[in-house]
């Protein structure tokens, strides 16, 4: 076994551990926003390190793998943002311990819009 293979194996194992923890987070978290949080972070680093590990095992693919990594780092947060925003617009309000008026700054935007719609 060469050093490249060892590094690749370690990267693949770390990636799969993070992916596992992310899916555990999706199971354990109480509401959709916290689930998205756990999912996004774990899948971003997990997938990145897994694919990089594959790149170390097969060095001729490294450049293409770099493109995939950039694409994951770029598109994963975007999709989670779109999901979260869509869920808020569908009135799935986040779970909040304590005063919702104070802790939920985004609600003012949405209720204002609703009032305008009712007026017009």
């Amino acid at each position: 076994m060469s050093i490249m293979e060892i590094i690749g194996g370690i990267l693949i194992i770390t990636g799969s551990i993070f992916l596992f923890l992310g899916s555990l987070g999706i199971l354990r978290m109480p509401d959709i926003y916290n689930r998205i949080q756990a999912g996004t972070k774990a899948t971003t680093l997990g997938a990145m390190s897994l694919i990089l590990g594959v790149g170390f095992l097969e060095p001729s693919w490294l450049l293409k793998i770099l493109i995939i990594i950039i694409f994951i780092a770029y598109s994963n947060p975007l999709s989670s943002h779109a999901l979260a925003r869509a869920m808020y617009k569908r009135k799935w309000y986040p779970l909040i311990k304590g005063d919702p008026e104070k802790m939920d700054a985004y609600r003012e935007v949405n209720t204002n819009k609703e009032k305008e719609e009712v007026k017009s």
């Binding site: 993070f18 923890l21 992310g22 555990l24 987070g25 354990r28 978290m29 109480p30 509401d31 926003y33 916290n34 998205i36 949080q37 756990a38 996004t40 972070k41 774990a42 971003t44 680093l45 997990g46 001729s60 450049l63 293409k64 770099l66 493109i67 780092a73 770029y74 947060p77 975007l78 989670s80 943002h81 979260a84 925003r85 808020y88 986040p94 779970l95 909040i96 311990k97 304590g98 104070k102 802790m103 939920d104 700054a105 985004y106 609600r107 935007v109």
Partner: protein
């Protein structure tokens, strides 16, 4: 869409040509003359037709100072990403689920839409935060463990280090 002067268009055209050519080389991963020539023409045609849509940057982005800050930004982002993964792991593995979720807002000084998008994406990858919406210059962030609802302090806590570097790039 704003109207661009000829020099701005040329600068965008050249930078998108360079970026697309780099992408081409990464895809084909070969330096045979024929493939490079096809790449030069294909990327030239694509960047000529998309010059109005390509709004991310101009030639100024190739200056050494900006490239230095870009590298610094990527390193800071990677460290934040690794930290946030350990943060998720810690929260998931603690039996009592230590969360105190809420949504905070703050204002950012970043000038262009593209830079705001970069900041929002980076915020999603930092520990415990998820960007929900950007309206003009106000960011709405879902925070898994709310420490403060004050916009200024929340800004410092969440986005301070990123914006500092981004302001130097854009």
């Amino acid at each position: 869409m704003q109207t661009l002067s000829f020099s701005q268009k040329l600068s965008r055209f050249i930078i998108s040509w360079i970026l697309l050519m780099m992408l081409w080389i990464a895809f084909t991963s070969s330096f045979v003359t024929q493939e490079l020539l096809v790449g030069v023409f294909a990327t030239m045609i694509i960047s000529f037709f998309t010059v109005n849509l390509f709004t991310c940057c101009t030639l100024a982005i190739l200056s050494p100072v900006k490239i230095f800050y870009m590298v610094k930004y990527i390193i800071v982002l990677l460290i934040a990403l690794i930290k946030s993964n350990f943060d998720v792991a810690r929260r998931v593995l603690t039996p009592s689920l230590p969360i105190n979720p809420g949504i905070v807002k703050f204002k950012s000084k970043l000038p262009t839409e593209f830079s705001r998008m970069v900041l929002a994406n980076s915020i999603t990858l930092t520990p415990g935060t998820l960007s929900i919406d950007i309206i003009e210059d106000t960011f709405y962030i879902h925070w898994i463990d709310v420490k403060t609802t004050d916009p200024e302090e929340a800004f410092k806590e969440i986005a301070g280090q990123f914006e500092e570097i981004l302001l130097k790039i854009f």
